[in-house]
Structure formats: C-alpha cells, structure tokens
C-alpha cells in the first residue's frame, strides 16, 4: 500500500494526520484529474474554434497582447511558490502566524490575478469582443473564464481556511483541508501554463 500522497506529506512531523490524510488527499487527487478532463475538452473546443470558428470576428492575434498575460502568469507562478512556503510552515513550523502570513500573500497574488483577468475581460467587452461575437470568442471566454472561476473558488477557500485557522487552530481537519487546497492551487497553475502557451502565445504567434 502506498504511504505517500500528492502535495506536501506531513510524514514524521505529524504521523497521525499523515495516516488519515493519505486516502483523503488521494480522493481529492482523483477529483482534480477529472477536473483536468473538463479543461482538456475546453482546450479542444478552443483549438477547433480558433481556426474555423471566427465568423468574421476578431482573430486570436487581434485580441491578445503579451503584457497582461505575462503579468498574470508571474502572479500565479509566484503565488504557487508562496503556497509552497505556506505548506512548509504548516508541516515544519506548526507556526500559525507564519502560515497565515504566507496564505495572505498567496491570497493577494491570486486576487491580483483575478482582478487583472476581469480587467482584461471588461476591456475586451468594451471593444465589442463579447462571447456572442463568434464561436471562437465563446470558447475563449468559456476556457479562460472557467479557469478564472476556479481561481476565485480557490480564493474563497483560502479565506475560509484563514477563518478556520483563527477559530479552530491547527487541528488535524484544518491541516488536511489546507493540504488539499495546496494541491488544488498548484493544479490551477498547471492549467494556466497550458492557457498562456496555447491560448495567448499561440494566439499572438499566428
């Protein structure tokens, strides 16, 4: 039987929680894999419509520039790293203050990402680039919007965990929830790697 799970393993620092976490985190991992299937199909739809679904509307190279996706990428990448630091604080320090600090930094970076994305969408809508324009734009908003919704859900989850840290402290339940949030957050960054490559960089290249 496997004794390790994705994400940070508490291992010897908290053997009791580690043992319980194993099946819980593995179950969450299965959910994440099915979530990836959802994203893959949105990618496939996007790939198809970006070639033959333009309906005379704007093409990928018309609507993208590199600046805002680059900043968004950096925000999400750094937030993945800071969540890693939060995981280490959770595992080794048992230090609520340090953990809270890293979680808040992660929240700020994630919120910055969502704010920039909303700003992009509003700007596009202002230029008449709405989902109603063409199948291509529909699939663009569906794909990038679904990712944005996931990040927003992650942010809400983060806030709830910060509240739980204050109310319950570093209990076994809270630790396991944070471990699942960590792999959720890292997985969203993996999806974003595909989005910035296949949507933005491919789009500008065409």
């Amino acid at each position: 039987m496997s004794s390790r799970h994705p994400g940070i393993n508490l291992g010897d620092t908290d053997p009791a929680t580690h043992q319980v976490a194993e099946s819980v985190v593995f179950g969450f991992w299965i959910f994440l894999m099915s979530d990836l299937v959802l994203f893959a199909l949105l990618f496939a739809t996007y790939a198809a419509t970006s070639q033959h679904g333009l309906a005379g509307g704007p093409t990928p190279s018309d609507i993208f520039d590199l600046k805002s996706p680059f900043i968004e990428t950096m925000l999400l990448l750094v937030s993945s790293f800071t969540f890693g630091m939060a995981s280490l604080a959770l595992k080794y320090r048992q230090d609520r203050g340090r953990l809270l600090l890293w979680l808040l930094v992660t929240f700020a970076l994630g919120a910055g990402f969502v704010a920039m994305e909303i700003n992009d969408f509003v700007r596009m809508a202002g230029d008449g680039q709405t989902p109603q324009q063409s199948a291509y734009l529909s699939s663009f908003f569906a794909l990038v919007g679904t990712h944005g919704l996931h990040v927003s859900a992650g942010l809400i989850w983060l806030v709830i965990m910060v509240i739980q840290l204050f109310v319950f402290g570093l209990t076994q339940q809270v630790k396991m929830r944070l471990m699942r949030l960590a792999i959720f957050w890292h997985m969203l960054d993996v999806v974003w790697v595909c989005i910035f490559t296949f949507v933005y960089l491919f789009g500008v290249s065409q």
Partner: protein
C-alpha cells in the same frame, strides 16, 4: 526511527523541501520567460516556434508536478503517477481526437 510505511531513504527535511520549492520556482520562472521571449522577440519561424512553445509547456508542467505537487518516480508514488498517466491518455484521446476530427472535417468541407 521512521514512521511505519515511510521509507527511511526519504529524508524529508525543511531544508530539503525548501530547496525543492526553490528549484521548482526558478525552473518554472526560466521556462516561462523563455516561452514569452520566443514570441516577444520573434525567434524561430511559425511551425518551429509552435513546437518549441509546446515543448516548453510540457517541460514546465512536468516541473510543476515534480517540485510543487511532489510527484516523482518513487515506488510509493506509483498510484498517483498511474492516475496522471491514465488521465494523460484520456486527455490525449479526447483533446487530440477532437482536434484531429475537426481539422479533417474542415479540410474535406473546403
């Protein structure tokens, strides 16, 4: 004394795991910058560039899995790895198949 089921060879320390996150962060940063640089400075022709970008993305995804999600080739990680590989197969069939069929259809309809 190691905990039941945890191999002794897996010496997890704060220092070691901190180093892992740093390696992952730096590699991901470099790969991201490289990908954006290819496009920003118009390096490579069309197809070569798209292939390079795809390769960079695949490498970066592997870096994220290895250093942020702690998935590696150790025997105790095989369950998760198998799940990833199976999901990868499903993604390849569904996403790749969709793109293939729609391209084919597009080609025949012209």
């Amino acid at each position: 004394m190691s905990h039941q089921g945890l191999p002794i060879s897996e010496d997890e320390t704060l220092k070691g795991e901190f180093r892992d996150y740093c390696i992952g962060g730096v590699l991901a940063l470099l790969l991201t910058m490289l990908a954006f640089a290819l496009v920003a400075w118009n390096i490579f022709e069309s197809w070569n560039r798209l292939i390079s970008l795809s390769l960079l993305a695949i490498i970066q995804v592997i870096v994220h899995f290895r250093y942020f999600l702690h998935i590696d080739l150790r025997k105790s990680h095989r369950d998760e790895l198998q799940l990833i590989l199976f999901t990868g197969l499903i993604l390849f069939l569904m996403a790749g198949g969709t793109v293939w069929i729609l391209w084919n259809l597009h080609f025949r309809m012209l």
